[in-house]
Symmetry: C2
Subunit: 424 residues, 2 copies
Amino acid sequence: MVGHKALRINGTRLNETLQSTCTQWGALSSSTGIRRLTLSQADKDVRDWLVNECKELGCEVKVDQMGNIFAIRPGKGEGLKPIAMGSHLDTQPAGGRYDGILGVQSALEVLRTLHENDVATQHPITLIDWTNEEGARFPGAMMCSGVWSTKSSTPLEACYRVTDSDGIDMRTALEEIGYLGMTPCDYRENGLEAYFELHIEQGPKLEQEGKSVGIVTAVQGMKWFAVRVTGVEGHSGTTPMPARSDALVTAALLISAVRTTALETNLGVATVGVITSDTQFQATIPSGIDFIIDVRCPTDAQLAALCAAIFTAFDAIVASESNRTAYSVTRSWGLPESVFHPSCIAAVRAAAVAEVGELQCMEMKSGAGHDAAWTSKVVPSSMIFVPSEDGVSHNPAEYTSPEHCALGAQVLLQAVLAYDGRIT
Amino acid sequence: MVGHKALRINGTRLNETLQSTCTQWGALSSSTGIRRLTLSQADKDVRDWLVNECKELGCEVKVDQMGNIFAIRPGKGEGLKPIAMGSHLDTQPAGGRYDGILGVQSALEVLRTLHENDVATQHPITLIDWTNEEGARFPGAMMCSGVWSTKSSTPLEACYRVTDSDGIDMRTALEEIGYLGMTPCDYRENGLEAYFELHIEQGPKLEQEGKSVGIVTAVQGMKWFAVRVTGVEGHSGTTPMPARSDALVTAALLISAVRTTALETNLGVATVGVITSDTQFQATIPSGIDFIIDVRCPTDAQLAALCAAIFTAFDAIVASESNRTAYSVTRSWGLPESVFHPSCIAAVRAAAVAEVGELQCMEMKSGAGHDAAWTSKVVPSSMIFVPSEDGVSHNPAEYTSPEHCALGAQVLLQAVLAYDGRIT
């Protein structure tokens, strides 16, 4: 048995496993992209494969009430809670091969490395595959890590009732693929000692700064608002301009104000990525428009201020417009700012610096939400980032080199071992 | 046999036929609305019924290359071309029971009235059901009257290749329902003496003025533009505001400018009724937005001026925006202004005034496009309007009273007879 500090993951094996499972389950035909919607057949297939792999490594596998998979490699300490590594295997409808997937596959590579080297850790070491991180099929990103942390705005029973665009509810979907487990989805009953998540950055900063590892210290706060603008339907040829109540015209002004307000206040970022119209016909004045605003700021105070500024701007627009429309916020949800745990950050920093040296590392906040943001509310957590080529993510063109993937997995291994050594 | 001027259509029969065929073929379950997309099963069923009814009245039925149905009641004159009445039986995805349908059902009621009274006209009298007036399933409103007039921007072979959202092309759809006919779809080979179309107003003017019959003198010119705005996809949480190239932000500014330009120039009306985004995910900055602009003006010169003003505004916005997006017009099509024929207008006026008196009649232009706009390019044509409750159309709530429907059909009958008498 080699000394822990000399242990090395197998980068070639990691890359081959990641690429071959992507090719097998959910590959898009026209690109290297992946469509592996949560609880779909492709998700079931990759889950079944993962469970089998982990069992072959001697892990006990538990599935909780939201389908989250916990594969536990026993430790030698008595009554110690697991140190976990994980992320998610689901993707966007046309996503890439790295977002989420790298975190789970690297966790598996860590388990394989521990197994083949007969490493005995104090704590159990657990791999987690969180259900529905993307929120692409069932609305609600980071849904099931949120339920596990029990501080989500959406509790278990409400999540079971969330439906996809075909009207299938989440509980049914879990049952159908055989992942409606019995383990309580609750950190108090199925707890962890700590949680580490390796992820691609999904932004351009590491690449721009020429760094290879991000030591993530926090996740910015985020809020989403589903907005509906209502007007009056009419015929485009027979309704005079001044008599109109055109929901799309008002929505256009509001969407423009979202960007202007974010730019002017400089508090954070705000985006409208989804818009739908009640009408699909060019000769109809739209009676209703729905859109979603995504607002993110480094702190909760900034987040509250930016949201307030946006809706103040909306009120002013609707009041001054001659268009006689109204708007309402039909749903809002969010994730408060998450500051990671100093002990976890220290373990990641030690592992990263040992591997690539201080100059290749960079402390950073995450602009994107991750399961670690939820876990950090209830157990010590932190994250490792590796570079995304051109900052592209949620897209088939998403790419992180095999070298950076291997580097991330190596840092994950050593951070977990460092944390395990630190506690005992 | 009664004198022609005393002939009366049967309003009760007209209403019963119109309502019962709407209930049978294409009725929405939740309202009195209709979904009878062109060349759908519902459209086939109502076409089959119509053909059978016309044959029972002694008509010869011809189907042309675009599926337009011509049901011809012979006249006693030698070698005379038919005087036609018609409209369309297809509807919007959630349309009403009157738009188009009233014109065809009233034409049938006229044929029934002529038949049961053994009226011998000089000219053949023809009922026409035009295919795909709505352009809701296969893009391109008034498509098949356009092909028949051969002045459409889209000739027959191009129309055959137009596909619906399932990728079914129009030729295949015509074949599938058995309405790919052999008669040339060309006014020169399958000609008419004149064309009359009864239609609901689809606007509020008759109701507001307290009139019951519109004597339609023209249809305004109209142009449609399919616009695509392109930016760069990005993650909403990791892409700084100043670095973005957000296609929806630019599209919002352009959509707002469409309205502002129409209001400021006072040349006509301009509307964006359809908008679609490349992304369906709230955390993605949209890389592409498509929308359609619908522009209508009383004259072609005004139409050209308003379109030019809109695109000048677009160019200025894209040039001044810090958003680094671009726009292109990916398709445009249109219908020039249509001035109806004095003889047809006179026949309608005579019939309307005889029925309800001068005070209940109103000369007007049509804001909406109709098949008569195309036919007027090549044969003498005009239209009769009856009131639309609250001006509502393209909506299940569309309503015209049985009394107004019967009045319209009576004016149609007498206009056709007047025109037939005028010529011989």
